[in-house]
């Protein structure tokens, strides 16, 4: 059976999750899928594509072109081209908010601050240095240390009445600091809020922020309190795409459309 529809696929293989987005000719998101990247990137990409096609009710033939991005971008066997995740987050964010902006992407293992002009061209970008402080990996490490499921952290942070501020740059030293706070009898929600604040501090020290802010990435999608914190720290309301975690994949699909 041939599918006469025309779809463009974007595959974003991140350090933590693989995301696939399917766009139709009108740039509507018709299907998507998100899975743990695991150890076999090619296979995960394939599985995500199949899931996204099921959601779009489309066959494989409908996928006209594919662009892959993220750490595993070269592992996608069905990709026609690759772009960096920096380029794809910029493309995706500009698709949703067509204006000059500062994008803050908080990913599983890296953060990016990307500045775009009013035409969507990159003015500059910064990635976190080699250290994972302030990324999703930091929160994952802390959730394991505190024995709190990662999905419960956002709710706990919102319950905080008095934030416990953490001073260290380093994830390992932060863990020691957290243990010390527990010993001092500090409340868990207050510690979790401190952890979230630590993420925000690491991001905001990467570059100066020029409003408006657009936030992308899985960490923001699953932890809305971080968005609230950005607002309270910068005084600027952060904009969120339809699915922040899919922004890079959407950007990749948009690149596929232009090939």
């Amino acid at each position: 059976m041939t599918d006469n529809r025309v779809l463009y696929a974007g595959v974003d293989i991140g350090a933590s999750r693989t995301k696939v987005a399917l766009l139709d000719l009108k740039k509507n998101l018709t299907g998507f899928s998100i899975k743990k990247s695991g150890t076999d990137f090619s296979r995960t990409a394939e599985e995500c594509l199949i899931e996204a096609l099921i959601m779009a009710n489309a066959s494989r033939d409908a996928v006209t072109r594919t662009v892959s991005t993220g750490y595993g971008r070269t592992n996608v066997t069905f990709s026609n081209d690759t772009r960096t995740e920096i380029g794809c987050h910029a493309k995706g964010a500009f698709h949703y908010f067509s204006r000059a902006m500062t994008i803050i992407d908080i990913g599983g293992q890296d953060n990016k601050v990307i500045k775009l002009d009013s035409e969507g061209r990159r003015i500059n970008f910064k990635m976190n240095r080699k250290c994972a402080a302030g990324t999703g990996a930091f929160l994952e490490e802390m959730s394991a240390r505190l024995d709190i499921p990662i999905e419960e952290m956002d709710g706990l942070a919102k319950q905080s009445t008095e934030m416990v501020e953490l001073g260290s740059f380093c994830t390992v030293f932060s863990a020691t600091e957290v243990l010390e706070k527990i010993r001092q009898g500090k409340k868990v929600p207050d510690i979790v809020k401190g952890l979230f604040f630590s993420v925000i501090k690491r991001v905001l020290e990467m570059d100066l922020i020029t409003p408006p802010i657009v936030m992308t990435g899985g960490v923001v999608e699953h932890n809305s309190y971080l968005v609230e914190m950005i607002r309270s720290k910068t005084g600027v309301e952060a904009l969120l795409p339809e699915h922040p975690q899919l922004t890079g994949a959407v950007g990749a699909a948009l690149f596929a459309m232009e090939l």
Partner: protein
């Protein structure tokens, strides 16, 4: 994805001669070390090599050995041994890898030239113009091998060059003579010294001309080529061999320029590289830039071995001037102006700053310079975190993505 033919670095016809010059340098040192036929001085990279040649020493450069340890990726394995005896992982990784190498009796000279160990010094001579670490590096060997050490303490953060600075370096250089005479077992020979100064000047003029061929569009060679071919400028400074080699290299480069032979096929972008090479990743990075049709056309690193101020008519004063006018010892305002001049000459459209974890002196990104110069020139800049030798400080995937994203950014302009 379709398999495309990957661009390869174009080989130089003079590569054979280069190999010979470098091999002879090490064989001569090894022979002298084993037989005692000639005295050996260890010298820091921009130390007073001409004076040492003038005293009849063979000159060995531990920083060159450090770069070899980095390029062969032996460094990362050897650094921890120096760390274990108290040399911090945060200090110069040439120093730590070289000391680690000595402790473990492992040297890249064995694989390259079947030479068992580095040559034994009769004296150690430093100039702190590169950094203070060179003094501490040589001090370790001085204690370990019970060999005398002398040196020159440079001025730093120099704006306008003043006579007192030049005179001071000249006097410090001259004052080394008694110790050198003692180690050499012979009297200082001014004519021999002047000859070395003249040869060093001639090689510098040629080396500068070689580097400046990269101002041609397309460029006939890249930063990665230059980091290799600068070998004779480092180890054979003050010798006829270096002069002869750069005459041959310059001819080949000029032929490439005349024939519009590009180092990088379809050169789309021209980049300025600031700071140290990442020795263990030279080949990987060279290939990545080639695949992105991007040529690194200028660097401060390769320019650091141009000493065309040298003048045999006034050898000490001109040495003082050459080693005081160095980029690495100058202030931020000078460095900014220097990069602007590079921009005018080499017409690059992007700047990459290497923030080398263990080399603050040669990492010029730490006081806002990239942001200032980028704004002033309207040229985008990128900082890569890494190190000259310690690959534990380098995240390859992050660097690769940053470079690729940077070229995408240049494409969008």
């Amino acid at each position: 994805m379709s398999e495309e033919k990957k661009p390869a670095r174009k080989k130089f016809e003079c590569q054979g001669l280069y190999n010979k010059v470098m091999a002879n340098h090490f064989y001569e040192l090894d022979e002298a070390s084993k037989t005692g036929s000639k005295k050996i001085a260890w010298c820091t990279s921009v130390g007073p090599a001409e004076l040492l040649r003038g005293m009849g020493f063979l000159v060995y450069f531990p920083e060159n050995h450090g770069a070899m340890l980095g390029a062969t990726r032996m460094a990362t394995e050897l650094i921890p041994y120096a760390n274990a005896i108290g040399y911090s992982p945060d200090i110069c990784s040439y120093l730590t890898s070289d000391i680690g190498s000595f402790m473990q009796k492992k040297t890249p000279l064995t694989t390259a030239y079947k030479i068992e160990s580095v040559p034994k010094p009769d004296i150690l001579v430093f100039n702190t113009n590169q950094c203070r670490d060179v003094q501490d590096w040589f001090a370790w060997y001085s204690r370990e091998l019970k060999v005398p050490m002398v040196g020159i303490h440079t001025h730093r953060d120099i704006g306008e060059i003043r006579n007192f600075q030049v005179n001071d370096i000249a006097k410090q250089t001259e004052s080394l003579i008694p110790a050198l005479e003692k180690a050499a077992g012979q009297k200082f020979d001014i004519d021999r010294f002047k000859e070395a100064i003249e040869l060093s000047r001639q090689a510098s003029v040629l080396w500068r001309a070689c580097l400046e061929t990269a101002s041609a569009i397309p460029s006939p060679w890249t930063f990665f080529d230059a980091t290799i071919h600068m070998g004779p400028a480092v180890v054979a400074r003050g010798t006829k061999e270096a002069v002869d080699y750069y005459e041959v290299l310059l001819k080949e480069l000029n032929e490439r320029v005349a024939g519009k032979v590009a180092a990088i096929d379809n050169e789309r972008h021209r980049i300025y590289w600031d700071g140290m090479p990442i020795w263990g990743k030279l080949s990987t990075l060279s290939n990545q830039f080639a695949e992105l049709n991007t040529c690194i056309v200028a660097s401060t690193y390769c320019n650091s071995w141009i000493f065309d101020q040298l003048d045999p008519k006034d050898p000490f004063e001109s040495m003082g001037r050459a080693y005081t006018e160095l980029f690495i010892v100058r202030d931020e305002a000078f460095k900014e102006k220097y990069m602007q001049n590079c921009f005018e000459k080499y017409k690059f459209d992007g700047m990459i700053f290497h923030d080398a974890k263990t080399c603050p002196n040669n990492s010029n990104n730490r006081y806002g310079l990239p942001e200032r110069i980028s704004k002033g020139l309207g040229v985008p800049q990128l900082t890569i975190n890494g190190d000259l030798n310690d690959l534990r400080c380098y995240s390859e995937e992050q660097a690769k993505t940053n470079i690729e994203a940077f070229i995408e950014q240049l494409d969008e302009r």
